[in-house]
Structure formats: structure tokens, C-alpha cells
């Protein structure tokens, strides 16, 4: 069964450092998403991406964040200068379309720890 994969599973970084979280969406999917979940809190939408453009972004997704699809298989989330409050689980998701009946498949997540 196809699945979304994410690397690394756990990333530890120092405050102020740049991190890149990587995702490989399901191969024939066209729509890509990033969500995050701070420990003990809700899963929060960050950004959606289609046709090499951001479709929608939340208030959380400020200038410190960027997304990229550098090739035909990877989808990345970059945080330029990490803050302590960026510590969270980051989930990548993908879907084949924006149809309401089309499932967003989530990856297992990357746990980001900012020290």
C-alpha cells in the first residue's frame, strides 16, 4: 500500500539554526500539506501546496517557514531560524485532488526538538 514517508523521524537542533524536514508524498498525488502538533495540543494546519505554489497558509506559517518541491518526489519544509516554540511533531500529507472525497494521507511525522 502506498504511503507518505518522512525523514528524519527525530531532529534535534539549536535555537536559531535552520532545519529542513523532508517528505516523500504518494507518487501520483498532486496536493501536499504540512501540519504540526505541539505536545499535548491540536494538530494544526500550516500550508497546502499545489502546482508549485502555496494554495493556503495559516497564521503560523510566517516568513521563517518555506516549502519546496525540489524534484518529482520530495516535498520539504524549511524553518530558517528555529525558535523554542517550533518544537513539535511535523506531519506531511498528500492527496490526489482537493475533492472532498479524497483522503489526505499523513506520514508518520518528524519530531523536531529545538534546544
Amino acid at each position: 500500500e502506498p504511503e507518505v514517508t518522512q525523514t528524519p523521524s527525530h531532529q534535534v537542533t539549536q535555537m536559531g539554526q535552520e532545519v529542513i524536514l523532508r517528505c516523500v508524498p504518494i507518487s501520483n498525488h498532486l496536493y501536499f500539506y504540512w501540519y504540526r502538533q505541539i505536545l499535548g495540543q491540536k494538530v494544526e494546519f500550516l500550508v497546502s501546496f499545489y502546482n508549485n505554489e502555496i494554495s493556503e497558509k495559516s497564521e503560523i506559517f510566517d516568513d521563517q517557514f518555506s516549502v519546496e518541491r525540489p524534484d518529482g518526489s520530495n516535498f520539504t519544509l524549511k524553518i530558517r531560524s528555529t525558535k523554542l516554540e517550533d518544537s513539535a511533531m511535523y506531519f506531511c500529507a498528500s492527496s490526489g485532488s482537493t475533492s472532498s472525497t479524497d483522503t489526505q494521507y499523513f506520514g508518520p511525522g518528524t519530531r523536531l526538538t529545538v534546544l
Binding site: 507518505v4 496536493y31 500539506y33 501540519y35 495540543q41 491540536k42 494538530v43 494544526e44 494546519f45 500550508v47 497546502s48 499545489y50 494554495s55 493556503e56 497558509k57 495559516s58 506531519f91 500529507a93 492527496s95 482537493t98 472532498s100 472525497t101 483522503t103 489526505q104 494521507y105 499523513f106 506520514g107 508518520p108 511525522g109
Partner: protein, 112 residues
């Protein structure tokens, strides 16, 4: 304000029990309602979705929406220990980049 609220639990039931999980939401414009299951250290997995008031069944699972009360429910019949997980309700906003707005999740434990 767009909000989805859930009782965090934990909810502990014996195997075979009927489980009722509930969410409330604030925005009457919401149209599509999802239930996700999340096992420890895994990403959310879609269980069911519905877009209208009423019930939708899928095996042991029934999703129910009451738009007049802004209340959504998930019922699990004949609960199994393998159902032990966190259950997240979520609202899909098609006009907002297919954004999902999640509730906080209810942790369910089914004891053998």
C-alpha cells in the same frame, strides 16, 4: 472563530462495549466532517467522513452529524483492544486550500 472541540478523555471501556466519541464546532459554514484515528507515534489515519446531517455507517463505525446543534459523533460497536488510539475529529474546508481543522482528540483505551 473556527474551532473544533473534543473531550480529551481518556475514555476507558471494556472489550465489546459501544463507544461514543463527540465533537462540537463553532462555524456553521463547515460542511465536511472527518474522523481520524491516530496510534502512538503515527500520523492521523482517515476513518470516515460525511458532509450532511444524519448517519453514515462503515462496518463497526457510525459517524453522525447534527448541523443544527453543530455536533458530530463517532460510534464504535463491539470495541476491540486494537481500537485503542486517539480519535480526532476534523473539519475540511474546501475553499481554504483543503485545510483540515482538528479537534484536540479523545484518547480511547479498550481493555480486554
Amino acid at each position: 472563530q473556527k474551532e473544533v472541540e473534543q473531550d480529551p478523555g481518556p475514555l476507558s471501556v471494556p472489550e465489546g462495549a459501544i463507544v461514543s466519541l463527540n465533537c462540537t464546532y463553532s462555524n456553521s459554514a463547515f460542511q465536511y466532517f472527518m474522523w481520524y484515528r491516530q496510534y502512538s507515534r503515527k500520523g492521523p489515519e482517515l476513518l470516515m467522513y460525511t458532509y450532511s446531517s444524519g448517519n453514515k455507517e462503515d462496518g463497526r463505525f457510525t459517524a453522525q452529524v447534527d448541523k443544527s446543534s453543530k455536533y458530530i459523533s463517532l460510534f464504535i460497536r463491539d470495541s476491540q483492544p486494537s481500537d485503542s488510539a486517539t480519535y480526532l475529529c476534523a473539519i475540511l474546508e474546501l475553499n481554504a486550500g483543503n485545510m483540515l481543522t482538528f479537534g484536540g482528540g479523545t484518547r480511547l483505551m479498550v481493555k480486554p
